[in-house]
Every structure is written in structure tokens, then in C-alpha cells.
Symmetry: C2
Subunit: 133 residues, 2 copies
């Protein structure tokens, strides 16, 4: 249960790779090979990270990707949300949705608490934390 999609796992591995490649930019193909990720699939993932402002890219020959900020300034919550969207265990946590079961949707708080717990964990970790252990 709660398995993390490969999309997110790959995205994080790519960020780790970039963080460890220091200043120089890496190409998508290079990262894919080093991390054993399907090259074309990774392209799309890097595109997402770019659109979220976590990485910068340069096109054309000698192009590639690099981190937009220092690893310690990249919170993992941002990363996860960039790749898979907000953590939302159950649909009824949205304000717009209203639960009206006879018991009054008691589990709502339970799920809400789970979301907060997970969000806090992600928010408390930076890319630097992931690398340094």
C-alpha cells in the first residue's frame, strides 16, 4: 500500500544525480543511463521538474539540465507535488466535497491527519538531506 509511482522515484533519483554533478549540467540521456531509467520516459519527468521551476534546462548541443537552486533549498514536498500533485488520501478532503453519510463522515479527520503527517515529513526534508545519508 501507498506505493510511490516510478515517476516520483525516478524524478528524485534524477535530482540526486544533478545535485551530485555539481555545477556542470547533465543531459537527459546521461542521467537515464547512470540511473537505469528509460530515456524517453525520463525526458518527460525532467520536463515536469523544469515546468515546476526545480531544474533549469538549455536546449541544443551542449544543453542539459541543472538544479535551479542549491540542494538545501529544495524541499522534498515541492518535488513530490511537482511530480504527482498534492498529497490527498481521500477525495472528500476537498472543501467543495461534502460527505453526508449517516455517521457524518467521521473518518474525515483521520484522513486529514494522515495527509498532514505525510506533508510534514516531506516538508521537513530537503534534497540535501536525501543525498547526505
Amino acid at each position: 500500500m501507498f506505493s510511490v509511482p516510478t515517476r516520483t522515484q525516478y524524478g528524485i533519483r534524477a535530482l540526486v544525480h544533478l545535485a551530485m554533478s555539481e555545477a556542470r549540467s547533465s543531459t537527459s540521456a546521461e542521467i537515464a543511463k547512470a540511473q537505469s531509467i528509460s530515456p524517453k520516459y525520463l525526458e518527460g519527468i525532467l520536463g515536469q521538474l523544469k515546468n515546476s521551476g526545480l531544474v533549469l534546462s538549455e536546449r541544443g548541443a551542449h544543453g542539459g539540465y541543472r538544479l535551479a537552486r542549491e540542494p538545501e533549498a529544495i524541499r522534498m514536498l515541492e518535488v513530490v507535488e511537482a511530480l504527482e500533485g498534492e498529497v490527498k488520501p481521500v477525495g472528500c478532503l476537498e472543501d467543495s466535497v461534502h460527505c453526508d453519510f449517516d455517521v457524518g463522515c467521521l473518518p474525515r479527520r483521520f484522513w486529514s491527519g494522515l495527509k498532514e503527517t505525510i506533508d510534514e515529513y516531506f516538508a521537513s526534508k530537503t534534497l540535501k538531506d536525501v543525498i547526505e545519508t
Copy 2:
């Protein structure tokens, strides 16, 4: 992300229903109607909860389901694992699996920490907590 399967949501709603029905046992159909859950689908879910020892059942006319223990003695971690199996964000957390990327699977600790965080949350809550908001 991290959306909880309806199976688990329904299972918990069913347990809440049983907990609030006190001593008397409820039929699957009764719970399904009260909680707006597909009757046949719920039957299977209750079967799982029964096989895990969380609820007791009686067959035949006047049969039904009831909690196997007091709500305060039912930890939500048990419930979740009964319905969906162990929390396991990424496959490489198993001992048998070995990661050998060039970066040495640095994110492993990160995912391991996530699993612990989620498990602790579930383990810290009982069915009684869920009911009492």
C-alpha cells in the same frame, strides 16, 4: 497522490458503523445501505476483515457482523494492513532487493523514513479515535 483505495475507505466506514451499533450485529446489506456502499463489494471487504480477525460473523437468518474487540483495542494499522497489506512506498525497501545504481540508492533512507512516519501514524490511532473525531 497517495490516494487511499475505496476498499480501505469502505472498510473503515464499515468498522465505524459496527462500532456505533454497539452490541447488536449488523448485516452487510444494512451497512451498505447506511454507508452508500455497493452491497456486493462490501461483502468481500467484510470477508477480509473477518479473516483478519477484526470482526466476527454469524451466518444464516439473523446473522451479521460485529466487532471482535472494543474499538479502543483496534489499532488502525491493523485495519489498513488487513485491507491493503503492508505500507511499502517503494519495492527496494525489502531486504531481499538490492539497489546498485551509481549513486548507491541514496533515496532509500528517505523512503524508509516515510514508511516509518506513516506506520507510526496508523499505529497511534485506534478505531475509537476515529469515531471520537
